[in-house]
């Protein structure tokens, strides 16, 4: 089959690789009909995630149909149309039983690596480094899905792939980031980063009852898309004092809920942001905490900070004193996907949200290397790429 494979920093290519096989009784093989490039794939692309190996198949946002199944998979039939969550969860360990699916005890075959680094293991993920399981990803024609009796959500025909595809990651991730802040009447929610997860968080904040949503980014098309999703916006490059601006828009209080949908590769325009960039380049810190500091600084006292953006290692000058003094509540982590997929499917089916409106590019799987480059460099107003396996090569943009 054809698959998008990692070959080093900013080096990905579509290779012909062996078709996946059933390796365990609870596996299925999916023929992929649609797959997307995630912002977190760019962390791999840029070489910030360790334990990648040359030849790894990337991709963790995909859907398709069941073409082969293991002997223990009873809930899915051949030909079933499914959306697959990016977290692999066994369903039976104490973590899964508490619905903390992304913290599954069992699904990472390389559990010893995060245990040595983080003191504990978390769920294996598709196409996201050997430290997180080393599972082949889904930017491919076919993929093996372990624990298929727990993860994949069966979906009816009649709703196009594009409206359902983001149930695999970014819609639940954006939604959960807001939901765990327990939005109450009158809450103002500020979202740093109007990329795909930020866009989903903005729309989810509206659904969950936020009085006002403020999207923060530096790219005009992303800000326009945030406005389409119901947010006011701030272009931080055109704003001398972001904290002052946020206070001005909230009667001096600051946002009740601040969401870091950027993560470890934050860009900033201040001297401190430049120092973080230099430190990361020199391996003096692994993650750039520029947005992380801002969300803590700008949040109103007693407010909630939520971090769906990915961090992997260490940061400097984390303002713990600010967070402590203001009595902030911080929440973070990978999304407990299996808990959200069914209720969020219902929202899509009911027409409460159309996640496909953030798609800017639809290309063939064969065009994936171009897609990574354009998406990474924020060229061509790119927000979200969807790849179609089996389609013929095309130009990068065809809206």
């Amino acid at each position: 089959m054809r698959a998008l494979c990692w070959h080093g920093k900013r080096k990905v290519q579509v290779d012909t690789v062996p078709d996946p096989k059933i390796l365990n009784p609870r596996d299925v093989i999916i023929r992929i009909t649609s797959t997307a490039v995630c912002g977190s794939d760019l962390h791999l692309y840029n070489g910030f995630v360790k334990s990648m190996e040359e030849g790894d198949i990337l991709g963790h946002e995909f859907m398709g149909e069941v073409v082969e199944k293991g002997s223990e998979v009873k809930n899915l039939g051949m030909g079933d149309r499914v959306v697959v969550p990016f977290t692999i969860s066994c369903g039976q360990c104490p973590s899964c039983q508490k619905q903390q699916f992304s913290l599954c005890d069992n699904s990472n075959p390389n559990a010893w690596i995060p245990e040595k680094t983080y003191g504990d293991t978390t769920a294996g993920l598709f196409g996201f480094s050997h430290m997180l399981g080393g599972y082949a990803g889904g930017q491919a024609e076919y993929v093996r899905v372990p624990f298929a009796d727990v993860g994949p959500l069966k979906v009816p025909s009649g709703i196009p792939d594009e409206k359902l595809l983001f149930l695999s990651d970014i819609f639940p991730t954006g939604y959960a980031a807001v939901e765990r802040c327990n939005i109450t009447h009158g809450d103002v929610v500020a979202v740093w980063g109007c990329g795909p997860v930020g866009q989903m968080a903005i729309r989810s904040a509206g659904i969950l009852g936020a009085a006002k949503v403020i999207g923060i980014d530096r790219f005009a098309p992303r800000l326009a898309l945030a406005e389409k999703g119901g947010a006011e916006t701030i272009n931080y490059e055109e704003c001398d004092d972001l904290e002052g601006e946020l206070r001005a828009r909230t009667g001096g209080r600051g946002p009740d809920v601040c969401i870091d949908a950027v993560g470890m590769e934050a860009h900033g325009i201040t001297t401190v942001a430049k120092i973080d960039r230099a430190k990361q380049a020199l391996m003096m810190e692994t993650d750039r905490p520029y947005v992380l500091r801002q969300v803590i600084q700008c949040c109103r006292k007693g407010g909630r900070v939520s971090i769906p953006g990915v961090y992997v290692g260490l940061v400097d000058k984390f303002p713990i004193g600010t967070a402590f003094s203001k009595g902030l509540t911080l929440s973070m982590g990978q999304t407990h996907m299996q808990k959200y997929m069914r209720p969020l499917f219902d929202l899509v089916e009911a027409g409460k949200i159309d996640p496909s409106e953030i798609i800017t590019h639809r290309v063939s799987l064969e065009d994936a290397p171009d897609a990574y480059r354009v998406f990474c460099d924020k060229e061509d107003d790119a927000v979200k790429f969807v790849l179609k396996p089996g389609a013929s090569r095309s130009s990068p943009k065809q809206n």
Binding site: V17, L23, N106, P109, R144, P146
Partner: protein, 199 residues
């Protein structure tokens, strides 16, 4: 320094308070390898005990154990992989057996490898399964650490024992042991094994 294990012959074989009913420690003083590890397994103690008590099941979770045969006299014969294509073999006897709580075993006198193990099952708080603690000791007769034990353990013994107990948890909870060995990638060499072997 507090000794990790007493040299008194009537002292417990492993650090657990196993009742003293033997006259000979399997691993003497501070020699050899002693390690223990724990997991919480979301299954009832009865089920976990029953699997373990039939030692013939253990090669399913203990990667270096090729086979275990239970014999009529209550002893078991263990065949264990060492470096290369070679094996070490020994006979073991159960020295303590509390159904659903504890199993302790050790090699019989005169074995090339002195080995003892205890597995203990304790209900976890809140009804979330069973806390399982595995403690083992190894010493190779007539050989120092490097000649003897290094052949028995490819990697860190602590990690190997932990991976054995992890596979037990995976098998008991999931009915299978998660793996990526044999999956697709754009390369000739299977790297899943590289990560397996790095343990």
């Amino acid at each position: 320094m507090k000794p990790r294990m007493s040299t008194n012959n009537s002292a417990p074989l492993v650090r657990e308070p196993v009742p003293a009913r033997r006259s000979r420690p399997s691993v003497r003083g501070n020699k050899g390898i002693k390690t223990s590890t724990s997991f919480t397994i979301n299954r009832p103690a009865e089920e976990l005990y029953a699997f373990w008590r039939n030692f013939e099941n253990l090669p399913r979770v203990m990667e270096h154990v090729e086979s275990v045969q239970c014999m009529d006299n209550g002893r078991s014969h263990w065949r264990v992989k060492r470096s290369g294509d070679k094996f070490m073999e020994w006979d073991a006897e159960v020295i303590n057996d509390h159904p659903n709580e504890l199993i302790a075993w050790r090699t019989i006198e005169g074995s090339d490898v002195r080995h003892a193990g205890t597995v203990r099952f304790t209900p976890a708080p809140g009804g979330f399964g069973t806390e399982v603690k595995l403690s083992v000791e190894y010493e190779v007769a007539g050989g120092g650490f490097t000649e003897g034990l290094a052949k028995l353990f490819r990697h860190s013994p602590d990690q190997q024992i932990r991976e054995d107990l992890r596979r037990f948890k995976q098998l008991m909870e999931c009915g299978e042991i998660p793996t990526t060995v044999g999956q697709s990638a754009a390369r000739e060499k299977e790297v899943s094994l590289k990560y397996e072997e790095a343990k």
